[in-house]
Subunit: 577 residues, 2 copies
């Protein structure tokens, strides 16, 4: 079983024709405002453009010139385009604050339709854009109706809204294209003075206009002029960049490269901060890891849900988004898509289903985003973890191109961070348990008593953690907190003369990519038992159809007598059969 190739057709195909207003706006944007150089379409300080209206894409391609090359996103499920664009604009704001306007000075444009404005994810993202005051963001929406309640909701979120009516008939009783064009041009020109994110909404009720709108040839921008304007802008930028005092740092961010000696520095920082402490939980270890990464790699950009005063551990470096999980995840996609930043999201356990569409879009776009999935109670109060994962783990493991890590201790936590940082072609989700592990966190290598070569550990996705590697009577496979249960079970089974081997399985996808020999060595030929406080969906892959899966009910009280009896009965039944 391999990862499934992505069907782009899965993304919403809203194939209605663009409204006349949107078409005129697109022409005005390219002709008048867009900072875009066809000879180097990906230069860092270009304007970002997101199009979420497939019909418009076809019309744009009819224009002379390579329109696609200048687009950052050309299709997405409804609403995601606006969320991504807010992330792009946030990246611009963050980078220009760091490197100054001489290096970072561009805008983000969205061309979309009414469906985008209706969605909850767009409304969440719009509220965040208003809260963050992202004045260099402009959404242009072509709406096939007179209702502008969508625009009102954006205005309520602190956006500046301009309405362009395409319903005023001209002298011939049809739409007055000239008037529409002038209104759109004026609205786009007004973005230069904007102090808030701007929405330009072009309304056009059914029945207005001359059937399918046609492009007026005179309105098509002269492509040579567009290109010349872009080339001038880019060359000016290049001159400034060449002399800039932060040029090396900017280039490193831009290339997504780690600083020199990054791995050595991180290992040292880790040992100093985590290694010297008492046994820490994966959640606490993740807090340290985030702090260390933020110091060594300031391009890390962290969004959280909690308001600042609730979550001191992450606040120093985080932007709080409130209860807007889905919008936050869409913003993270935009931060990643912009380039030059490392997007991290700290979310609560119950959020994962809410932000799933954005996570999947990141997977489809092969975009690096890291979601830290913390227990809400533990993150807010340091109290015991109350989250019980059920099908969420299975549903994330099933999602193509998403790596799910469920570390059981600080060593595995660090390995998960290392893997997630190294994964530039897709999102990672790290599920963090708030309960402390009994194992000392300063042990760098995973202990195992078997014959596997040294260095084999969490980065393989699964490894033998303890117990006899070869002559085992049973293999206990677990992840996260349940590894501790498996370890306890191993010790109790040993008292009954049963030699158990504990396999920790933090990441299915990594383990599935190792070679078959390693997988067979880890899983062994003895009967297999899986332990995870979750639905057992999909576990047959590792346990076989004969294997025993022990979920939350069975291990509710840890390794108690009932669990021991159940395991022994299962093993006895197998031996008899």
């Amino acid at each position: 079983m391999t990862d499934f190739p992505f069907p782009w057709t899965d993304l919403a195909a809203r194939d209605s024709a663009p409204t006349e207003g949107l078409l005129q706006a697109a022409q005005a944007l390219w002709g008048q405002a867009l900072r875009f150089d066809p000879s180097d379409p990906l230069w860092p300080d270009r304007d970002r453009v997101v199009v979420s209206q497939p019909g418009l894409m076809d019309r744009l391609r009819d224009m002379t010139g390579d329109v696609d090359a200048g687009l950052d996103m050309s299709r997405a499920p409804p609403g995601q385009a606006i969320g991504t664009a807010v992330g792009l604009a946030l990246a611009e704001a963050r980078l220009s604050a760091r490197f100054g306007r001489s290096l970072v000075d561009h805008r983000t444009w969205v061309l979309c339709d009414g469906a985008d404005l209706e969605t909850g994810v767009a409304l969440e993202a719009a509220a965040l854009a208003g809260m963050l005051g992202l004045a260099r963001l402009c959404v242009i929406a072509g709406v096939a109706q007179s209702d502008t309640s969508g625009a009102d909701r954006f205005a309520a979120s602190g956006w500046s809204v301009r309405r362009v009516s395409c319903e005023v008939p001209g002298p011939d009783g049809q739409m007055d294209r000239e008037a529409v064009r002038n209104a759109v041009v004026a609205a786009i020109a007004a973005t230069v003075r904007a102090r808030r994110p701007m929405l330009i909404i072009c309304t056009q009720a059914a029945g207005i206009g001359s059937g399918r709108p046609t492009t007026d040839d005179a309105a098509v921008p002269a492509w040579a002029a567009v290109a010349a304007r872009g080339r001038t802008a880019r060359r000016g930028w290049q001159r400034r960049a060449f002399r800039h005092r932060l040029r090396a740092e900017f280039t490193r961010w831009q290339n997504g490269a780690a600083p020199p000696l990054w791995e050595v520095d991180w290992a040292r920082a880790w040992r100093t901060n985590v290694g010297s402490g008492t046994p820490a939980s994966p959640l606490a270890a993740a807090g340290h890891a985030l702090d260390q990464i933020a110091q060594l790699r300031p391009e890390l950009t962290c969004l959280t849900l909690a308001p600042p005063d609730h979550d001191p551990q992450y606040t120093a470096l985080a932007i709080a988004c409130g209860t807007r999980d889905h919008g936050m995840a869409a913003l993270l996609n935009g931060l990643g898509l912009h380039g030059a930043l490392l997007p991290f999201g700290v979310i609560s356990a119950v959020s994962i289903d809410r932000l799933r569409p954005a996570l999947r879009l990141a997977a489809v776009m092969r975009q690096q985003v890291v979601h830290l999935l913390c227990d809400e109670g533990a993150a807010l109060q340091g109290a015991d973890m109350i989250w019980l994962p059920v099908e969420q783990l299975a549903s994330l493991r099933a999602m193509p191109n998403v790596f799910l890590f469920r570390p059981c201790d600080p060593v595995e936590t660090r390995a998960a961070f290392t893997s997630a940082l190294a994964r530039t072609d897709g999102p990672s989700v790290i599920v963090l348990d708030g309960r402390p592990d009994t194992r000392r966190p300063d042990t760098e290598a995973a202990p195992h008593g078997g014959t596997l070569p040294l260095g084999i550990g969490p980065e393989q996705g699964a490894y033998v953690r303890s117990g006899p590697n070869v002559a085992r009577d049973v293999t206990l496979i677990a992840s996260g907190h349940e590894v501790a249960v498996a370890e306890a079970l191993r010790r109790r089974l040993a008292g009954h003369g049963i030699e158990a081997c504990v396999v920790s399985l933090p990441c299915w996808k990594q383990f599935a990519r190792t070679d078959a020999t390693y997988r067979e060595a880890v899983l062994g030929t003895a009967p297999r038992i899986g332990l995870e406080r979750a639905s057992g969906f999909g576990w047959e892959r590792w346990l076989g159809t004969e294997g025993l899966f022990l979920g939350a009910e069975a291990i509710a009280n840890g390794c108690d007598d009932a669990l021991l009896a159940r395991v022994r009965a299962h093993l006895a039944a197998i031996t008899t059969a």
Copy 2:
């Protein structure tokens, strides 16, 4: 592997204390307005109450009387409470339109906090409530800040908003409780005259008030008076209901019962409409099924995404919600929770991840809701299906208490509807394929050449569809459109002397609940091959670890030579080994 028991702790625990304004509002609501009789807390025409603030629940329980008995929902992830309440209010509107105000005349109340107002699902549901003009809905939010942008967004959606400031200090410099109480009482009294849904927002910035708010004893409503008011209302209603001309029909709806001879009538209607036609796709068959059910059981209430002019097949009976999938799914939960209605949602394939949190809430609440998952392209245009399911099928199959049906032909489609209608303790998702099946739809019983008893068919979740039942060389297991591919493969394999048996597997959860003997008889002992245009995640359960799974890539061109060669090679390798 059984379904996992639901951890209620998975729902968001927002355990902060309620604001003073919310507390006063709750007291005013019970004391002054709520239509609630403790001696019969579930009488049909009671007011519906949704509480989404756990801290408030504890305070309410301190009040004398059985508060919990009058609540329809007392905890939910952020935003879902508002969405559910909009559904409750929609149910009231629909039922009073059918049975008149003498039988149905109640209100829906929500007590929530600021987090609820921020979420996308609440904003989507609020837009729908405004669009539908649900004037008997009142949301009371206690917000721990002065910012009222959340209220502005509701106002933009056509809500009437009243602000109650709890920040005006009284003579002692502390909060003036008396003023707050009067303002809240006036706001609640105003709901009687409301022509639009109402939001009462009580703002209270940090630092105002006397620390943790305390209940003023004088403000606690006299429980005996509350109960007397409710009893009077209920007795009046009982007298009217007893003499009502639609009493029998109302009682049937209320009990969720099918009309007499329902099964006979539906079978006849089905035969007349579908049986006489040409081979129809599951999608077309589902359209007929919905029409028939709507005629025989007018309590069916259908929400769709598409605006009316796009989807003529379902419009006659559907309420179009626009691109607000998540809000729509939350409304469906409310329709189900209200009682007396059969909630159906017609959604597009790409929507399923967007409405997942609402679907899961329905599963947790053990609420009957049916989602018909249509291909967007096919539903809008009748064109070929373009959706390729990837991990969505696996992730829904993994969700506890959700039945996923993927029928391959009209017979299985009807069986899926029958099962979904019979399932009153959880949601069902029916995945509908727009491509016509080659099999004639008028065959009532599934053909199989084996020894399984007659009557065994789709309602078992899986069944032998064709091929030799006992002496088979290979078992091909498929669902939906891939059953046709499996049938073609069976015929081609027969040409090479290989006897294949085709098993259709429309519903995993149903099949898992049949007894082991049946499962073994269906799956057989021959090598197994699974065919599904999706991720193979979880398929090891039916195929074993030795089985072969053929996903979208392998069957992209149907049963072509490459597929045949691959299957033959696999079988040859097994025989050799």
